[in-house]
Subunit: 220 residues, 2 copies
DNA sequence: GTATGCGTTTGTGTATACATTAACGCACGA
DNA sequence: TCGTGCGTTAATGTATACACAAACGCATAC
């Protein structure tokens, strides 16, 4: 149970602090500083930082500390382009896999939750269910590497979403798209699943990038 | 000029040994062992291993050493699926970017070199030029993250290619495909660039996977 | 006021020490 | 012969020590 190394603890603690905004994008932090804050020596902190760096969450620069990576509008455009392609592939593969209704239960639940959240005007719950839908979709695509790449990219999106979630229009079309994708997967229609999800993501991309550019979050 | 840290040295030395087959896939190596071989302490070796692990080249398992990741036929299928999508996107973006003939010189050269290598029956030179073509194609797509993901995936392909290069049929169709993609990019035809490259990669994938499965390189 | 150079400070990169804990072997019992 | 349990061994995870080099401040010169 408590078989968790300090490195693992450091990774999740740092991730949490980054996502919570406690370590704001662009800020620098010395290894010693973080080590003290986490109650461990520099060694595991360094190793954790190395892993987070590989995922693009931080950058280690000699003598300037560990910098929490900023996410610009350009970055977001890059990330969404990748997500668009890889998730759409996953959707197509999921459709080809001929899953049973039972296998798709998690997707169905996520869709229902999104509808409910939208009706209740609970954007935070909506975002959580949306995440769940996309995560499950990728899992059904059955490509471990793809899942990993997507999850790294989605981490970045999550960071940006913290600032954009309440600025954007109600995601009504989004729910409709998800339903179409779900049905296409259920009946084994790979092309529709792929193309619908592709358009869905591309629309999200354009909306988000416009939003970020308008609000000049270039270096946030 | 010696401005190279031991970690950097360890990373490139290990990469080289892995690609050269000196550290065969599936083999285990203790940190101490590698440290001694590289003439440094365990610390930089550990950090290097951590980075290579993030790229999927090794796996660190407590008490069992650093394992050089095997590449199975399934892995190759996963990897090619990702490459197919991302490179095709890059091709489309490159076409949209309206590059001049001069900008595309590197692509043209790579194509010429591949023709020459094919005529001379020099498969190794062909593979090198092929790599060059794909790398430049992705670079022209102008997505830094995509480039990074693709280069990690291509590293894995390179490892498998060492064993498959001389088993597969002459890549004649391949050269023809590249030429079509090049021309599509030159005239700004994103759809043709995308679709042609997509089919090109998918064909390569099917051929390679069949080859690997046939020769039962499941755990190599 | 601005620029240049030197001394100091301080963070990092690396080596090393050490405790912990998993793997291995061996003995013992069934 | 095979399985089980314990003791030993040894590899890792983490802490710590230390040298080097870069950043900063201050003084001096223009």
């Amino acid at each position: 149970m408590g078989a968790m190394s300090n490195v693992e603890r450091a990774v999740s603690a740092l991730r949490q602090m980054i996502f919570a905004g406690e370590l704001p994008p662009g800020s620098d932090h010395l290894e010693t500083e973080l080590a003290e804050k986490l109650g461990m020596s520099r060694t595991p902190v360094r190793e954790a930082a190395l892993m987070l760096q590989a995922q693009g969450l931080v950058e280690m620069r000699p003598r300037r500390g560990i910098r929490i990576s900023p996410v610009s509008a350009t970055d977001m455009a890059e990330i969404y382009d990748i997500l668009t392609e890889l998730e759409s592939l996953a959707a197509a593969r999921a459709a080809e896999a001929q899953y049973s209704k039972a296998d798709l239960a998690t997707l169905a639940t996520a869709i229902r939750d999104m509808d409910a959240a939208l009706a209740a005007d609970d954007l935070r719950a909506w975002a959580e269910a949306d995440d769940r839908f996309h995560r499950e979709l990728v899992r059904l695509g059955r490509n471990a590497r793809l899942s990993m790449v997507v999850s790294v990219m989605r981490d970045q999106v999550r960071r940006a979403r913290a600032t954009t979630l309440f600025m954007r229009p109600k995601p009504k079309q989004s729910n409709e798209d998800h339903r179409v994708v779900y049905q296409a997967i259920a009946r084994g229609d790979a092309k529709t699943a792929h193309d619908t999800h592709h358009a869905h993501r591309q629309a999200a991309r354009d909306m988000l990038v416009a939003l970020l550019e308008k609000h000049q979050f270039h270096g946030l």
